[in-house]
Symmetry: C2
Subunit: 322 residues, 2 copies
């Protein structure tokens, strides 16, 4: 494809590229006459400024990298959906990068993004110490359950709140045994949330057991099989996410177990997608759209200020979906 450059426009009008640049960017004074001529030439040549060149000069791309572990998970879909829309309004676009939580791929991805096309990073993958690379870019941590002061900006869901919500949903003395599902505890996010939940459960004398569920089980199928295979006599499941909760409900129904009367299933997530599935579980919603909104706002302000000093830790309140 042959594209016209600013020089083509300049030649056509008979001015310098400087003048064209000024006219198009409304910098300093350009006479109305030449400005008009330039605009005509732009149309005639179908000229569009080359953003790569612009970026090389300005050191700005108006692109942010977004790193998430999965786009299949409706929580992330919903967050990304909001983030993209809000950022777009501000002329910021997103470079999407899928990266497992615990892999060394992350460092590569990060390094790849740095010194490249991005003005900042939004990442839901943060289970690593802050690297030097990361340190020098506007970085927004998307999600997590504990404020991480080593990172400049976090938008989290307070694990303590989650624990307290869980204990409120589990009426004391009424249940025999709670199964608490969790992902691999090598991931700080998993460990933190589990800690908060266990803390809450211990505080209210509830009998519970832990179930480790695999990371690579996006639909909660395997976790559910194992739940019913490995555990007995439970009447509450605090599932790792709504997908797992949904499957637990399905399996319970297959086995003729009434939900929630005989088995209470508590989900975690609260994406609109699963909320509309009408599963008889109760869900602790992290309000993904709100999180997305906050993340986008903070990203915008970080980019605008061009000062990486301002630390902000924001916790988006949870809510309960029945």
């Amino acid at each position: 494809m042959i594209l016209s450059s600013i020089e083509d426009v300049a030649k056509l009008v008979g001015v310098s590229t400087t003048t064209v640049s000024r006219a198009l960017n409304n910098k300093s004074y350009v006479s109305k006459k030449t400005k008009q001529k330039i605009e005509e030439a732009v149309k005639e040549l179908n000229y569009v400024p080359n953003k790569v060149a612009k970026s090389l000069s300005s050191k700005r791309t108006n692109i942010v990298g977004v790193i998430i572990p999965s786009i299949i998970d409706p929580i992330y879909s919903e967050e990304i959906n909001t983030i993209e829309k809000v950022l777009k309004e501000k002329g910021v676009r997103i470079l999407l990068c899928l990266c497992p939580r615990n892999s060394h791929q992350y460092e590569l991805e990060l390094k790849n993004m740095l010194n490249s096309y991005i003005d900042g990073i939004i990442s839901a993958v943060y289970d690593f110490p802050v690297t030097m690379a990361e340190e020098n870019v506007p970085f927004v941590q998307l999600g997590g359950g504990k404020v991480d002061y080593s990172r400049k900006v976090n938008v989290i869901t307070d694990d303590y709140e989650v624990g307290q919500a869980a204990i409120k949903l589990i009426e004391k003395g009424k249940h025999k045994k709670v199964i608490v599902q969790h992902g691999p505890l090598s991931l700080s996010e998993e460990q933190d949330r589990l800690d908060a939940i266990v803390y809450a459960l211990n505080g209210s004398e509830v009998n519970y057991e832990l179930q480790l569920v695999d990371q690579d089980d996006p639909y909660g199928i395997e976790g559910t099989q194992n739940l019913f295979k490995d555990f007995k006599d439970f009447d509450v499941v605090l599932s790792r996410n709504d997908q797992n909760g949904y499957q637990v409900v399905l399996e319970a129904q297959r086995r003729g177990i009434m939900v929630p009367s005989e088995l209470k299933v508590i989900g975690y997530g609260g994406s609109q997608f699963l909320a509309n599935m009408n599963s008889p579980m109760t869900t602790i919603s992290i309000n993904p759209s709100k999180i997305g909104n906050k993340v986008a706002e903070l990203t915008i302000s970080m980019l605008a200020e061009d000062s990486k000093k301002k630390n902000q830790q924001i916790s988006v309140p949870i809510s309960i979906i029945n």
Copy 2:
């Protein structure tokens, strides 16, 4: 953030930038000695080549723009998931752009992407005549039901197949009335698929009615309400997508209608996400992961060949999920 440039490396080693460039890109011969020195300097300075500069010079970004109407829809999530992974292996990254099907936003988005950061476009939004802009970029049409020869590369689901599959699922003479859901017919994709289905239904003397469902009803809630409000005595629903199908099943169950014995619900889509929801509907799966794979492959080959001449229209077969 202060980044080191190729010149910093060159100075440190005491060679020219040309030599450094050659050493790092393995072009022509560089003595082992200097090469080693350069590598050390790179490490010391934590040098990473600036991709923007690289792109300005090479006219290549290794980024493709991906335009889809929604990331909430699991069909697109699943496609994007595959596309991102396959492209990543080849060093290609994706700029994600959400854009409604029928809005004029599309032209803006397209223009915005052109002359900017992308080597090509993958788009599930194609309900417009081919614009001049689009014409000059490697363009892959993601989805659709009819080969569109005006576009260079399509990966589609053959509407005819869909119609034939539908008619096979609707046993002749056994059903009273089929409701065929469809989106706004101003969208060619909707019109084409409906045509194919109607053609199939007419050919087998099945009684049917059409229901227009809103585009902005991502979970199929409203469409389902209207279905039961506006139509009577139907015993098959050919839903617009799995989300609608799922909701129809839910509402039927609420009303005490047995699915599928009293009401047969046929979904369309076949994302793993919904397939795992265990809804008693039958789904015509377009096999989104396969589509994503094909799209990614074709994209890679288009970019590699750097020749936009080769037209390819590929139809990914459907399958039935029970």
